[in-house]
Symmetry: C2
Subunit: 337 residues, 2 copies
Amino acid sequence: MLDERKLAVLRAIVEDYVSTNEPVGSKALAERHNLKVSPATVRNDMAALEEEGYITQPHTSAGRVPTDKGYRLFVDRLSQIKPLSGAERRAIETFLAGAVDLDDVVMRTVRLLAQLTRQVAVVQYPTLTRSTVRHVELVPLSERRVMLVLITNTGRVEQRVVELPEALEDTRIAHLRAVLNSGLDGCQLSSVPELVADLPERLPVEDRPAAATILSVLLETLVERYDEKIVFAGAANLAGADFSIGLRDVLEALEEQVVLMRLLGETSPDTPSALTVRIGSENPYLQGTSVVATGYGLGDNQLARLGVLGPTRMDYPVTMGAVRAVARYVSQILAAS
Amino acid sequence: MLDERKLAVLRAIVEDYVSTNEPVGSKALAERHNLKVSPATVRNDMAALEEEGYITQPHTSAGRVPTDKGYRLFVDRLSQIKPLSGAERRAIETFLAGAVDLDDVVMRTVRLLAQLTRQVAVVQYPTLTRSTVRHVELVPLSERRVMLVLITNTGRVEQRVVELPEALEDTRIAHLRAVLNSGLDGCQLSSVPELVADLPERLPVEDRPAAATILSVLLETLVERYDEKIVFAGAANLAGADFSIGLRDVLEALEEQVVLMRLLGETSPDTPSALTVRIGSENPYLQGTSVVATGYGLGDNQLARLGVLGPTRMDYPVTMGAVRAVARYVSQILAAS
DNA sequence: CTTGGCACTCGGGAACACAGAGTGCTAGGC
DNA sequence: GCCTAGCACTCTGTGTTCCCGAGTGCCAAG
């Protein structure tokens, strides 16, 4: 049905349309790419491609524009991910290496990605769920108040102030701390609830109320952050772009953690570092936009996702290259720290 | 020069223009506000106001539009800050009260302010400079690595991983921790550098290298965050608005911490809770926009600033009311926690 | 000082024509 | 059987013209 040349025509249409933002006609196409056939032949192929739903014309007698289905075919079979230049790679490396803490890593990553792709970049904070406990700290603030600090292997720190039901001496807090640490150190966060279930029973009876309070806050901390923090940058890049939906809708979506979360999608367990590309209407949450995303994190243990959001008319090979590269580098940084 | 009626005309022009977004003519003006004079008289007054530079006409024979100078006079002398409704106040209170930690307080505040004003809201994190040390914690991570945690009276937590020059036993870390806390507890952050200057000398000589390393990181933490974190929300509200400069420029400015910082301006030491209003060209960093900002924080000890950014054509009385109210409530919340 | 009258100006929308790009179709050539 | 050249057709976008109406400034009268 679609021979080699028709595919070449489709590829040429996508490339031209992406770079010029204008419907591409048969004549210009035959000239710019050396297809070695006449415009008339190209027109026949275009008619076939349109018949199959890969391209469409905005109005009679304008050039052709790829449909979502056309972009999909392009991404899946007609294009190759474009690797970054050496200069870009070095720039990424040095820029990310300068980060001082997790906040800084995430912030730098999202800015970098936005700048590299000239799109809106979205980065999810490393999820607690699969990370492990590195340390639990209890800091007495006053007689009846304790600060609970949870440190994970990704460098994330969560803290909560806990109001105790009764005063607790420092030595008893120290004991509790020791018990918590010996029980939880190195464990996956997701397994913490089971591990602490019977903990109060192993304590002296007079410590149990305080321990129960602290534990309930600890569990809350785990649950609350299940739907993770997520940040974006590069909104300025939306200014020029034209979406089929309103700019306002896109900006609103960007400020909704939940929507962003769904846009990034889920990491497939078998191929954690694969790139996910959702094109236009394939995207259920924000039609008219495309999302390129991937998981990142420590080794195979992908902790979170990052990606970019842009108009359907996007340079997919370049964008995919940038997303993949940034994901790799930030994973390295996380592993090293 | 400007009698009562001319001022009334100016006020009417500002109010009408803000609500309709169209140049306002003499006839409509005489009708809508009962000025009890004829359009012709209004025209004479308008001519005088234009002569003085308070209003201008986009083109010959269109209505009049306030100039920056006109808005300035309106804000200073012709309008009253509009208090929020009871329902709004209660909504603010309950919404802010639900915050779990400092991040959450700031996040909720900025969203609230954006929603309330339908503009872009900007909130600076409470500055470290004037806040005080509540606790310093050293957490041994491994033999040669320690996590330094700094907790302030505003609930802010800063953490850094410190690589030690040599292994250090837990008991010696505990001792160092005790020394640090007894020396710094309750002190203003700005005075920390002096306080720790001679600290290594008071320690056993074998602890000094480690102590020096830890202290240098501690000081870095203070300095690094001097230019504070700052967040915004409500970018979607820019979609409808028309600035004299490009939307892209505004969005870019919003993502630059430094620019945001300058936009919010500085809190005057004598009148810390006063509202700052910068109108259009008065604003050196982002012409064509207006900024309404104020300090907030604990009592007279204003810690940081918050405000909104919008088009020059903005409902100043309402916006000022919202900014003032939110600043008060968030100050309360901070004081209580 | 205010008011009604009046001529003037200018922006914006409607109607219109036109050029240019692109198409589909058909007939002829390899 | 596929490719190509030619041709008539169909759009969109742009530039032009025209006209209406809102709004003004000025003047003379109350």
